[in-house]
């Protein structure tokens, strides 16, 4: 347990809030965007290219006084499936868990089908995640499947 504590100090410790750790460095900005942290009024600290024994380089985000609902936080599993979540109250870890790929995603992934209504009208996208391992998203509108390699973010 001593190792992680020292690492947290690199991006200063928080009294209350959420730490999202083990994010691929390249996905940190995307996670910030998905969670709309750029609009947050609370203090947001983040680091990229931090040393990690497991991942080589990793990213971390700490959000003060913010606690996420599973439906909100699990959205990031599509870009950061390895991310872990630590909930802190009074400097103490009260919950630790991994993010999970949700059954349903809305609003932040583009449908790959150029003829889909979501690419022509002002319609927020909606997908059912029909394969959580390969990541295959079934469009609620055009009924086409967007595969992991074709995922683009809005």
């Amino acid at each position: 347990m001593e190792e992680p504590l020292r690492k947290e100090l690199i991006v200063s410790a928080i009294e209350n809030g959420t730490v999202i750790d083990h994010i691929p460095s390249t996905a940190v900005m995307r996670v910030m965007k998905i969670l709309e942290l750029e609009k947050s009024k609370n203090q947001v600290l983040f680091g990229m290219n931090l040393e990690s024994r497991k991942f080589g380089k990793k990213g971390i985000i700490k959000v003060r006084d913010t606690f996420f609902e599973p439906i909100e936080i699990n959205k990031i599993a599509l870009v950061a499936p390895s991310a872990s979540l630590t909930v802190i109250r009074d400097f103490k870890v009260v919950e630790k868990k991994m993010v999970e790929i949700p059954d349903f995603v809305a609003g932040f992934i583009k449908c790959f089908n150029p003829k889909c209504v979501t690419n022509h009208e002002n319609v927020p996208t909606k997908f059912n995640v029909i394969d959580k391992i390969e990541i295959r998203l079934f469009c609620h509108y055009c009924e086409k499947i967007t595969k992991k390699e074709h995922i683009q973010f809005i």
């Binding site: 089908n113 003829k115 889909c116 209504v117 979501t118 022509h120 009208e121 002002n122 319609v123 469009c139 609620h140 509108y141 055009c142 009924e143 086409k144 499947i145």
Partner: protein
């Protein structure tokens, strides 16, 4: 189905399809019924499809309802840049139900989410055309007396053909259907559709030759093959005539065989087939009116 939209064939259960088919056979016996008197149905054709539009309008007229609408988007406010949402919300004020055809996939689903009246999808690009699928099921049941234990061939462009995909998926809900899939190698049924067949433990066979399959069939469903679908135009020239049905090819076919086609045909069924009693594509088109009457009446709560 009262007040529900009909957007995708995948939104409905087998029991719901069968209810529509039963109701359609009532309209087949008694096509003129004044049950939609006072109702206004809007037909919004953002791309032209004369056949489908006339079939819907005929259905409404035979039920005593009135029709408003437009037949191509260039004459509507869409050409002035109005969003689909605004068009639908406006027309919903003037009508009790909207029938729409649109080139963009998923447009009917979106319309059903913003409309205050039910939507019937009359085709959204390459995606869905559920009333065509229901009229095909109706025709198969009408000619064979059942929707199970049948050998059915789909011929032509099985890769891009929306009608074929919907029909195959709908038919997998019935017992012991055997699918015979006849197409050029380049235009085989997509594996996502074949998955539906496998999931139900039904059998399918793939062929590149039409002749060899005919003697086994109860239903022969022909579709068009378009030149644009081929990456190599020489390949198109080479195969195009292998998927043209003529009357001689029907020698040795089963007595109960019926030939279907969603129409319009180009040249994939030779005209010498038309006088064969096994040709059933024009009757199939007439069934479209009964099935659409059934759908309109049940969504508007009149049956």
């Amino acid at each position: 189905m009262k007040n529900r939209s009909l957007v995708s064939i995948n939104d409905f259960s087998k029991e719901e399809y069968l209810k529509i088919l039963d109701l359609a056979s009532e309209f087949e016996k008694q096509p003129v019924q004044n049950i939609l008197e006072g109702n206004v149905v809007a037909t919004l054709f953002f791309e032209p499809s004369t056949r489908t539009r006339l079939s819907f309008e005929s259905a409404v007229n035979r039920l005593g309802g009135r029709v408003i609408g437009f037949t191509d988007a260039s004459s509507s406010s869409t050409s002035k840049g109005e969003s689909l949402k605004d068009t639908i919300k406006t027309v919903a004020n003037y009508s009790d139900l909207i029938v729409m055809r649109h080139p963009i996939e998923g447009s009917a689903k979106w319309a059903s989410e913003v409309s205050s009246v039910p939507i019937i999808n009359a085709g959204d690009g390459a995606n869905q055309h559920p009333t065509q699928c229901l009229l095909d099921l109706y025709t198969i049941r009408q000619t064979q007396g059942r929707l199970d234990n049948l050998h059915i061939a789909f011929v032509g462009d099985l890769k891009y053909g929306r009608t074929v995909h919907s029909n195959v998926i709908a038919l997998t809900q019935f017992d012991n259907i055997t699918f015979h899939l006849v197409s050029p190698d380049e235009l085989k049924l997509p594996s996502a559709v074949k998955m539906h067949i496998k999931k139900k433990n039904l059998n399918y066979y793939q062929y590149t030759d039409l002749k060899e399959v005919i003697p086994h069939l109860d239903v022969l469903y022909m579709t068009r093959i378009q030149r644009e679908r081929f990456s190599d135009p020489i390949e198109y020239e080479r195969v195009k005539n292998s998927y043209v049905l003529n009357n001689d090819m029907l020698d040795g076919s089963k007595d109960n065989l019926k030939i279907l086609h969603p129409l319009p045909r180009v040249n994939e069924i030779n005209e010498d087939v038309d006088s064969n009693p096994k040709a059933y594509y024009f009757e199939q088109a007439l069934n479209g009116v009964f099935v659409r009457q059934a759908i309109l009446a049940s969504i508007l709560g009149k049956k």
